[in-house]
Assembly symmetry: C2
Homo-oligomer: 223 residues x 2
């Protein structure tokens, strides 16, 4: 998406890993659970992990209204949300080419605070991404709980993405030189795996875990 | 660790989740693979994912010497490295208490660039954390490769940590009120799982994956 390319987000290093397809960005954002959000406060950067979800052309984030950094975010301070999914470990023949496979998106911009029905819809979007199927079962937020929460939308306008996949990219010399040419090299895929649900002490006898926990959607189960 | 507490890193919100034990910080840093590092450039925060490892009282990070942000980091610009491990999904009875279990450390400070044997030792530390057992098998970095790499140490002096574990913390009213009291609630542990190693096309016939790939160390296998 050419619109997304500015001097600030153009990937200068490892540019063969740069990926600018909006569809790849959407796929990453629809799969990820956590964004690391950077905000500056008196010249010091702070990076906070937040649950995240995509809603159309925005990334939805939320946090406590008691947090000064969340209030700065909602006030439109310059922000950077970085979303990374680790896909594998790369065992090359040299230390230099040893690395990780990953997809990472860096989104720059100023968020806007959400309110009223728009905020409620955004909170549902977050729930649907992080805990698919859950929203219809649980108690919606009260007015007091809503007041304790800041929900913001960060637009997908200025962003870049880096993707690293598959086998090592070894130096051709290492493929011809002993002992390196004779060692095992390759990659090990990794993914976020879920264990069995653990009920808390208040669940009545006979109430089983709901189907959305026992039949994972592939999007969420694979990462 | 009281030394680590400053006004900038004291956890103001959800302070029951704040954890200040240095041993808990070390355990997280020894297990994590990725840090999200925030740096400011002309008032704009940038957050970059980087492989990370702990060496004593430092977090080791590295990147390309062609990256302006890496050069700023090595020059001692104010930085924030945030390390997060996702441990579970929390299915509460209300939207407000629905959340995730995680451990996250926020480390503020100024990194220092590493050089010579000290840098080589730090690169080995990174390799040992990200790819345990691999270093002795692979070609060490050349002088040219070393020049293309910036390796830094960020001291563990000013930091804070948040930890969320276990079952939902529901509002007591929800435990007594239908229909919420009758629904399933609890948590789903998650962990980073490894698939089988995939050899690249250059591995000679008969060369098997090394034992450090087929017998995971529990530290790395569990997260």
């Amino acid at each position: 998406m050419v619109d997304s390319l500015t001097d600030r987000t153009r990937v200068r290093r490892l540019s063969d890993k740069a990926s600018y397809e909006r569809s790849a960005l959407d796929q990453l954002l629809d799969e990820a659970l956590v964004a690391h959000v950077g905000i500056v406060d008196t010249d010091q950067p702070f990076v906070l992990p937040m649950g995240c979800a995509r809603r159309g052309d925005d990334v939805i984030l939320h946090g406590s209204s008691g947090s000064r950094l969340m209030r700065r975010l909602a006030d439109g301070a310059a922000a950077c949300a970085t979303v990374t999914v680790l896909d594998g470990l790369v065992y090359a023949r040299s230390a230099f080419e040893s690395s990780m496979n990953y997809r990472s998106a860096l989104i720059l911009g100023c968020a806007r605070g959400l309110h009223g029905d728009d905020e409620l819809d955004a909170l549902r979007t977050l729930s649907d991404q992080l805990l698919p199927g859950r929203w219809d079962d649980i108690r919606p937020p009260t007015t007091k709980e809503r007041a304790a929460t800041i929900t913001v939308a960060l637009p997908l306008e200025e962003w870049s993405m880096k993707v690293s996949t598959g086998a090592p990219e070894d130096d051709p010399d290492d493929l011809d030189t002993e002992p390196w040419r004779s060692i095992w090299a390759g990659h090990v895929p990794v993914h976020l795996a879920r264990s069995n649900p653990i009920a808390d002490d208040h669940v009545p006898t006979g109430v089983a875990a709901p189907s959305y926990l026992t039949h994972h959607r592939s999007r969420s189960a694979n990462h």
